[in-house]
């Protein structure tokens, strides 16, 4: 798993590449916690290049979302595809997160 970050206005765009499973998900969570500790509270998490996610990845995303909620922050998701999208549908994460087709759409709305 690889995580790349860029900044647009006050929004932190976090792009996750590869696989987000039991072994790799904690690195995502840790990185997000650092950003939040650094007073960043507006995020677009871009999953365009994410190939695989397990429940460990979902747990990390949910844990961060709970944390941001307490800080009046925002995290939206973008570009879910294939198996990742299916996992989000099965677990109904599609109904608790705002999900955009791409980061451009997310940026114009957030």
């Amino acid at each position: 798993m690889e995580i790349n970050t860029r900044k647009e206005r006050d929004v932190t765009i976090v792009s996750v590449t590869g696989r987000m499973g039991e072994v790799t998900a904690p690195a995502f969570e840790e990185k997000m916690r650092k950003y939040i500790a650094d007073e960043k509270i507006k995020f677009i998490v871009d999953f365009k290049e994410l190939e695989y996610i397990s429940s460990a990845g979902l747990r990390s995303i949910l844990a961060i979302a709970k944390m941001l909620k307490d800080k009046n922050g925002t995290m939206v998701l973008s570009s879910l595809t294939g198996a990742v999208k299916e996992v989000f549908e099965i677990t109904q994460f599609v109904s608790i997160f705002t999900i955009y087709d791409n980061t451009e759409d997310a940026l114009s709305e957030i």
Partner: protein, 145 residues
Amino acid sequence: MDGRIKLPAEIEHVKQFTKFVRNFANGEGFSRRNIESIELVIEEALVNICRYAYNDIKGDMEVACSTDDDKQLIIQIVDGGKPFNILTVSEPDLTADITNRELGGLGVLLIRRIADDIKYQRQGNKNVLTLIMNDKGKQQSKKSP
């Protein structure tokens, strides 16, 4: 054709199991998309064993793969930990909002929704979980509960 792998129930070994099953399913001609689903259910089942089956005692986990006459992939997962029947665990409330959503239970949910059939038996002091995956029509029929 069949094959099996047995290793200590530790997270660091899960990757070897998923690789083994991926190679097996690949050899049987399963599509890439289905192999991704198979890897996911294997990871979820084995991580549960590593985390919860043995408490602090060391133990093994074993995976055996075979195919039947209908070209279904049959994955048998065995551990010697405490009894755990995946079929009787209650599922998380999927209608809860972010604040009230539970962090646990998602792995079992994914296994139940993605596997085409699941069987559980307690044989002596072992948990025997059988996951059956087929290679057609699954993605369309499994989207909603």
